[in-house]
């Protein structure tokens, strides 16, 4: 329905096009991973350790002689997967909590929102580390931990939108026609709160990838020998003076990905705002 219109408007913004292209390229890289990588990302070659970038190894090699480019490519899959699954968890849990709290209000709202306040009150990283301390390190647990940490944001954003949509006349109209809660929430409330949630999803993906990198950096996320951008950054840190490329390339990958998600999120925010939208599209009236 509105999806095509949204895309058409989105493509009017050059930065959004660039961000979208970067993300598409990233997904393709993650999917094709193995076949794109010039070398085996886990194959060590001690005779070729710490090589600076060259035609054979565009991004150089690390302390075990592994090809950094191949590892960055392989890491894309890990980072995107962790980001997507973690955000998926917080999206589903957060939206559900937000819908229930916002729609029913009263004590349900109080209980759910106080709980999410408690989660919110801890610094995100500290919270994730605490969860991983209980669950144990590893990339699966990292996804769960990040998912939990970002749930309150989605709950809050959903609740805030539900609170205003709930009071809309069209919701009253549906109720006056006899619609039950399930129908009202599913058919009227949820479709009308998607815009801010989509924007938040895009921004949270950036943060989730960053969090995964941070957790891997401190050794709680992806475990060796699997490559992950955060892990590579952490390993490269020790060699920053002899082999800058070990840290810089995975760092750049994180930077570009996070930036792309953020830019896309901003562009979506503009496009999905109905006021902006009518100004941009100049809607006509059916005669």
């Amino acid at each position: 329905m509105r999806g095509r219109e949204t895309l058409a408007l989105l493509f009017r913004s050059p930065t959004a096009i660039v961000a979208g292209a970067v993300l598409v390229a990233l997904v393709v890289t993650a999917v094709l991973g193995d076949s794109l990588a010039p070398h085996d990302p886990t194959a060590t070659d001690v005779s070729n350790r710490l090589q600076s970038p060259s035609t054979a190894h565009w991004f150089g090699t690390d302390e075990l002689g592994r090809d950094v480019l191949s590892r960055v490519i392989e890491g894309a899959a890990v980072s995107l997967k962790v980001g997507a699954v973690a955000v998926g968890i917080s999206l589903v849990a957060g939206v559900l909590i937000g819908l229930v709290a916002g729609y029913y209000g009263t004590w349900v709202d109080d209980v759910l929102m106080r709980l999410s306040d408690v989660l919110f009150a801890f610094p995100a990283m500290l919270m994730a580390i605490a969860v991983l301390a209980i669950l144990g390190p590893g990339s699966t647990n990292a996804m769960i931990a990040i998912g939990i940490v970002y749930t309150p944001i989605f709950a809050r954003i959903t609740r805030a939108s539900v609170l205003s949509v709930r009071e809309e006349v069209y919701v009253r109209a549906a109720r006056s026609a006899g619609a039950g809660d399930l129908r009202i929430v599913g058919r009227h409330v949820l479709p009308n709160v998607t815009a801010p949630i989509i924007v938040q999803t895009s921004i949270s993906l950036a943060f989730a990838i960053l969090s995964e990198a941070a957790l891997s950096f401190v050794g709680l996320g992806t475990q060796p020998p699997d490559p992950s951008w955060g892990r590579m950054l952490s390993e490269g840190r020790g060699f920053i003076e002899q082999a800058w490329w070990m840290a810089v390339f995975p760092g750049l990958a994180i930077f570009v990905t996070v930036l792309a998600f953020n830019v896309l999120g901003d562009a979506l925010r503009d496009v999905l705002d109905p006021r902006q939208r009518s100004a941009m599209a100049g809607t006509g009236v059916t005669p």
Partner: protein
């Protein structure tokens, strides 16, 4: 079959301290249009909503077709929802922007499982669109592609989808341009006569109410202060507030406007959280006299088809 379709008795709707509706007895007769006029904050919309049980009465009862629906359970309420409908003021806000107009019009059918099956439902929606003067081919468009008047037609089609008996029209023309208002008024009148509907026509516009309503009820500060035959109420108001209201409505005839004795009320409507003692209108009434502060007047006959709550017709107490 009684000729009263909807009856409210001793109805009060309070929101915290605010007494939006504060002791209303009202009958809506089968097949009539009852106009409900009053100024903003008088409780007319709340009363309309309470008659459909869209807001819960604090005290009092609402009967629909002889059955008390004040304590109706889930199933009874659902049945009531099919037999009643509401048309809203703002045609921009009352349609879900993310659903096509056919989806909006068909929603009551889906809720009440009427005209089941894709084709039957589409046929019924097309029929409803034609009934209100819309081209059924535009059914898959979204509300923002329609003008205000067309959206209001969509709202009307949706209200009629479940074949209701009783329709509350809540300021249905207030947000429309003059020439579009006339279209919607004519449409509502035509539909009522064709379909034998019963209307509660809630409006601040006495001239529009006179155009559509058989009887008129006037509200002030949570109470019905006058009710009766539309022509009689406008020609010979029994309540000083009605008199002021009638005299304030501009008439598009310059000579008559110049000669008219306009009653300009002093001050503002008191807060519905703290209405005056006795008669609620006494603080602004040009005809106030001594019983008004102590006695709260009840509706009493002032003509064959007319009642007013004013001590000028004999002192009473609520």
């Amino acid at each position: 079959m009684s000729d009263v379709l909807v009856r409210a008795s001793g109805l009060r709707v309070h929101f915290g301290d605010v007494r939006a509706v504060d002791g209303v007895d009202l009958e809506v007769r089968r097949g009539e249009t009852l106009g409900l006029v009053g100024e903003s904050g008088c409780g007319k919309s709340t009363l309309g909503n309470a008659l459909l049980r869209l807001v819960e009465p604090t005290v009092g009862t609402v009967e629909y077709d002889g059955a008390d629906v004040t304590a109706a359970g889930r199933r009874e309420l659902r049945a009531l929802r099919r037999r009643t409908a509401m048309i809203f003021q703002d045609p921009y806000a009352s349609l879900d922007p993310r659903r096509t107009v056919a989806e909006s019009i068909g929603e009551p059918l889906a809720i009440h499982r009427l005209h089941r099956g894709r084709d039957a439902r589409r046929a019924r929606v097309g029929e409803l669109m034609e009934l209100v003067g819309l081209d059924p081919r535009n059914g898959n468009r979204y509300p923002h592609e329609f003008s205000g008047g067309q959206r209001q037609r969509v709202g009307i089609a949706r209200a009629l989808a479940g074949e209701p008996d009783f329709v509350v029209c809540d300021e249905p023309i207030a947000s429309l341009d003059v020439s579009v208002q006339a279209q919607v008024v004519n449409l509502l009148v035509r539909l009522q006569r064709e379909l034998g509907l019963t209307y509660l026509f809630v409006s601040h516009d006495l001239a529009a109410v006179r155009q559509v309503a058989d009887r008129v009820a006037v509200m002030y500060l949570g109470r019905v202060v006058e009710i009766g035959d539309g022509a009689a109420v406008a020609a010979a108001p029994g309540h000083p507030y009605t008199e002021a209201l009638v005299s304030a409505v501009p008439v598009p005839v310059p000579a008559r406007e110049r000669d008219r004795q306009r009653i300009v009320l002093r001050g503002d409507v008191p807060s519905p959280a703290a209405p005056p003692s006795g008669c609620r209108f006494r603080t602004r009434c040009p005809k106030v006299f001594e019983p008004c502060a102590d006695h709260d007047p009840v509706l009493q006959p002032t003509g064959p088809e007319q009642q007013a709550a004013c001590h000028l017709h004999g002192v009473t107490d609520h």
